[in-house]
Symmetry: C2
């Protein structure tokens, strides 16, 4: 992400008004807050882990390939993230008896707990991110930014 740092130096005219820059600045702030939140309350977990836990909670156990497809995370990254989740006992991996090549991933009770904790943290961050806007502006912004996807 670009360097939106603490506004050191002067302002680059060519850049400061461009929507792409404004978006990237907002993203930068948003992800700084997210990183801080994960750092403080995340037990070393990061975005990938959260998304995998959320997918398991929402759709139940699934193979790694399906998890990858549903979360948009590459198979290889799913493997790595699951290894970390497994080592924290937040997730279990067992090979599908009907499909020996496939591994079925299951959320453990500890995993469900961790997910809830992360949810709370993330909710707090949403408020922080939108704090500069009034409630009405927040609704407007969410509406508009939704269409830019």
């Amino acid at each position: 992400m670009p360097a939106h740092h603490d506004e050191a130096g002067r302002t680059l005219d060519r850049v400061k008004e461009r929507p792409t820059w404004l978006i990237s600045r907002a993203f930068s702030r948003s992800s700084a807050l997210l990183a801080a939140g994960f750092e403080a309350h995340g037990d070393g977990l990061r975005g990938y882990h959260y998304r995998l836990l959320a997918a398991l909670e929402q759709w139940g156990s699934a193979s790694q390939a399906d998890l990858g497809r549903d979360t948009g995370i590459d198979r290889s990254d799913v493997t790595a993230a699951l290894t970390e989740l497994e080592s924290r006992n937040l997730v279990e991996r067992r090979t599908d008896p009907d499909h020996k090549r496939r591994k079925i991933v299951t959320l453990t009770p500890q995993g469900a707990d961790a997910l809830l904790r992360l949810d709370a943290v993330l909710d707090g961050i949403q408020e922080e991110v939108l704090a500069p806007l009034t409630a009405a502006q927040q609704r407007q912004f969410v509406d508009l930014v939704s269409r830019l996807g």
Copy 2:
């Protein structure tokens, strides 16, 4: 940046409404368009190069350290990017006679040309990014997202 890919798989409820996610999705699209633009018309240049050229055009020759401060780019990254710009003759580096440790960077005419070309490319991308919104919505969005920095 998160995987906002072409909406493969299903939608993660926990995530899809959160402003942080929407912002990162917009950023993802924005930077995909930027990358494509630089790829197509950028002569191998990227964001750092553009920002350095823009700073030189706006404020004139400067030391690398000052360039870093004014653009928010780390000294080390400034060094690398300038080396590439210099090898394309878009920029000149000469050591300051009064401060032998300092190097003064100057925009060449070719550099100024390149900057203008990139400006045009970037302007086109701004329109593309905001295309999903009406003109009034675009103004609203720019106003709101400006406050999230």
